[in-house]
Amino acid sequence: MTDSLHGHRGRTFAPWKDCASHPLVRFDGVSKRFGDVPAVERLSLDIYEGEFFALLGPSGSGKSTLLRTLAGFEQPSEGRILLDGQNISHVPPHRRPVNMMFQSYALFPHLSVAGNIAFGLKQENLSKAEIGERVRDMLALVQLQDFDERKPGQLSGGQRQRVALARALVKRPRVLLLDEPLSALDRKLREETRFELIELQRRLGLTFIMVTHDQDEAMALSDRIGIMNEGRLVQVATPSEIYEQPSSRWVAGFVGDVNLIEGQLAETGPAGSMVECAAGGRLRVAQKVDVPPGTSLWLAVRPEKIEMVKEAAAAGENSFAGAVTDIGYLGDSSVFKVKLDNGLVLRAAAANRTRALEQPLRRGDRVCLRWPHDAGVLLVQ
């Protein structure tokens, strides 16, 4: 998995692995403080041409601030921002070849759809004919040909989102910045729009940098995700790496659901590791770690990777008996909370493959949880 050049989006695209490729955008030790409050701290990050990069983090993690420093709305307190190798830290926002799609779209309510899209082109002193042509092309691209005369107030949420996208794209930016691009849409439309957005980015070959707090959105859209917390990047990797190999307990807990089991390293080697579980029992893990035996660490196991069988006969490695304490029915899957006999509470998820209205398991049923050696990942931090 680690050496795969294929992103989860099924394309061979990994310029960040190629030492010869130059980044399009480089944040070089960027800090931003508001008064005494640090929003971004000494952050360095390279983003490559044609990449769809997502900044993911909880609110207040500094992801929006970072995006705004690239747009030019905020000046970094320290560090440099490079675009195509040029330092643009002090270039005012109206002279930067980047455009932003705002969270609430920020469409001009007094201008028509066509007027909104033409706004940026009019600032470039282009001929009327060229502006008209580019606006028409853009309207066709976002399928709003028949809406050019409408005012933003007369559009649906999805149409407004497309106008905002068209208004930013028509400027042919080097980088398109998207601030929570889909958060104002309802769920169904959001999922459809995700695919449109990927399709569009691929077709135009543009570099997109998106800020989101929605991990599904980040996973579905991006080539790489930068996870931010408290003004710092805690992990930068492809969506599958983030999910399967989180770099820390915090990342594992932030992205998706996870069981964290505390223990002490008993032995480790090329064949894998053995962990002495703090609550009792031993865990075998396929992964080798670079810490001496005795170090305390955590095993992170995703609920869907835990197999649950009804018989309470716990036998073999990574196998624990317990009782179901809670069941969460989610439609496509169910999540079971199981209290193990050693006191640990773990969550296991199972897809609901049959249309049985009755759950096969009830609260209080004795079960056995087990998982393969390579299902979990050992985290030292």
């Binding site: 747009a71 709305f73 926002p93 920020a106 007094h110 600032q123 107030g153």
Partner: protein, 312 residues
Amino acid sequence: MTTANKTNEPATRQQRPWGPRLVILIPALWLTALFLGPFLIVLKISLSQTVIAQPPYTPVLDLAAGWQGIRDFVAGLSFGNYVLLASDSLYVTSYLRSLLIAATSTLILLLIGYPIAYGIARAPRRAQPILVAAIVLPFLTAFLIRIYAWVNILQREGLLNDVLLAIGLIREPLVWLSTDTAIYIGIVYSYLPFMVLPLYASLEKMNETLLEAATDLGCPWWKAFWLVTVPLSLPGIVAGALLCFIPIAGEFVIPDLLGGSGATMIGQTLWTEFFSNKDWPVASALAVVLLAVLLAPILIYQHLQIRELDKR
């Protein structure tokens, strides 16, 4: 329970229109009693002739004389006063002067009021109510007293000349009082809140992200202000301009106390006709024409507002 609901339904359906009707009835009654009624009386007097009598105009409707009385009354009405207004350059000049002063001072008010309103709208949230209160504060002192204070400030030995002499800007005291400058100072000072408040109301609603969007799309900040802030505050500009222009055009106290004795504004002309010449019909005709002139901007504003509502 269900049957009770069913029987209630038609009743509530019938009752529903009464609520809105009643709500409209209150302003309608108010305007009929306090605007339309008096206006019709003024209109009638403007079509009469002046006489030395009580009341000082003729004809007077004599309902006791029956049908003949009404016929005599209608026959006695004439448009003579309006012909007089159009033919005498004194009145025409007075109207034009009023409109010119109103237009000029409205423009000055807009130029001064806009930055003030913009500043308040951009001030920290907590400071805004205090700043708005500060704008309204002068109203706590009686209007007449404030205008008399200006008489004091603008006179030859007044505060303004003292200050200008003290800082060495002028060598000799200047004449301020009884000039058009004094009228403009008085008007701009008095009407500033009426310009600032509607402007503030529309600027305060403005989404600041729109300005960021404009700069992001390649506008320097001053151009973003011109292309986004100004058009979006247009309703406030129009409202403020009307709130100032209309009463200024009919202003009497300020030109009378601060202005010179030469050219007069229409309010002063009207006052003279009414109180000095005791010519109620001509005074009424002046008032009716003023109303007709001022109706134009109000109608334009209404038209714009309806168009704005249609857009949403």
